[in-house]
Subunit: 314 residues, 2 copies
Amino acid sequence: MSILIGLPDDDMLARLAPEVEAKISDDVELAVWRVGDEPLDRRIDLLVIPYVTSYGFLAELDPAHVSVVQSQSLGYDGAADVVPDGVKFCNAVGVHEAPTAELALTLVLASQRGWPEIGNNQAAEKWERPVFPGLIGRHVLLIGVGGIGREVEARLSGFGAILTRVARTARDDERGPAHGPIHGIDELPELLPGADIVILAVPLSDETRGLVDDAFLTLLPAGALVVNVSRGPIVDTDALVEHVRSGHVRSALDVVDPEPLPAGHPLWSLPGSLISPHLGGNVQSMKDRIDPLVLEQIGHLRAGRSPINIVIGK
Amino acid sequence: MSILIGLPDDDMLARLAPEVEAKISDDVELAVWRVGDEPLDRRIDLLVIPYVTSYGFLAELDPAHVSVVQSQSLGYDGAADVVPDGVKFCNAVGVHEAPTAELALTLVLASQRGWPEIGNNQAAEKWERPVFPGLIGRHVLLIGVGGIGREVEARLSGFGAILTRVARTARDDERGPAHGPIHGIDELPELLPGADIVILAVPLSDETRGLVDDAFLTLLPAGALVVNVSRGPIVDTDALVEHVRSGHVRSALDVVDPEPLPAGHPLWSLPGSLISPHLGGNVQSMKDRIDPLVLEQIGHLRAGRSPINIVIGK
């Protein structure tokens, strides 16, 4: 019996078809199908959805038409509310962690070395040479030690910064004591006053929503930098705006609340505010990671196993 | 007999005076003195000059007034032509390599993740999400394996890029074969077509002047990025402008020829051209590295030894 795979576009179909034929089997059928399209004549075993960050459209899914959804994203906040009973939902583990961490380092370095000011001077064709903080010797507080946190840690290791890591609960590093302690989130009041740079790499949950609020920001030393590559609502935007406006902290945000950031919002233009528009893990090499994941899922289904990375509908 | 140290400003005097008193000796005299000031009543044993990148003013130095010049920079191109006979000149080894490499990574990451475009969109308050190349899996050609090159290598190690190193002559890595080969500069014609990113970290010399010319750039693949944190004249600016204008390459330059880059120059505004105004190693923590170097030099002189890092007037 063949299995049916729904793909979001002709591009992915063109990339995967030869791979499926060469490496997997001819009992796998590929079709381009999106939520809202006419149902196919039989149930789709695995539906790869487009690369999105909000999942409202999945409420339209009919479990009679689709068994398993494969997201192209790591975060899936909001998906559990809309994925219908009878449909499993898998997130894209291993696809975005590294490029998202890469963006975190990009934002850290750019901010510590003078952007957006240097970029604005370039646009104005002004050669001015203020002195910026830099990263060497700075205390970095990394909140989140999951996939993205690990990749941030790897990238940060060569820069001569001093890293402190925070997770939900204090614990030893599973790789051994040489990797240093992992602090619990309850220790933040003691840790924040020593942080030059905070990197947010935790998933959005009831526990982390609004984590970076006025009290959090007030505890940071003057001139500290807040970097968010996770989800916008981890930060209380109004509180952050006030602390950036006063010059107490700087921020470098790939994710904001609301998204898209509307024109006229102060975070676009406040000095010390660097914005990237939820670029996250979306780099040109993304296909080199999402395609193997989809092929792996196809292999599991064909072998009669469960797909991996099921996060909803277990 | 006490020794006399000339310092460029009251800031450095205020920082060093307590250190000299506490750790070195009271037979060391500190004074603020700059080239062009009235000569002091005896010869300055070590003159720390301001943090500059051109040395023409040293032609005015009188060997009767100053024995040894301590520069605050690593590069000293042009200094040999103006430092008078009888004066030794020391460069600042260990002060700028790490922050200059930090800036190189800043420029690499910013360019690979969409700046200056993303910065220009921020200024225009536009939330647009094009897909950029990223650094993961990219082939990086690092030209120069001296102090800055080593620090670039350390910082690059966590990013999942593929590094190829080039020095004046092919050689083994002194740390062992696990660190991979070092290619000779004569191999560039074979290496350039495979380079997604070129980082220039060689000193300026007759050999390296104009190294990046039309032939070099023509050999790069379409879309490659050229990063220069060394000295502007390593790159033939006119040739680079043509290759950036045509869209064949992108560039991210901390150093340019001429400097300062004049308003109206195409490198300010061409798409794919990122400019920083020779920020190099000048970060707020620079004093944490230059002060210990000056104190070390004072220690050597006081003990009757030669200063370290003499590069002119040996």
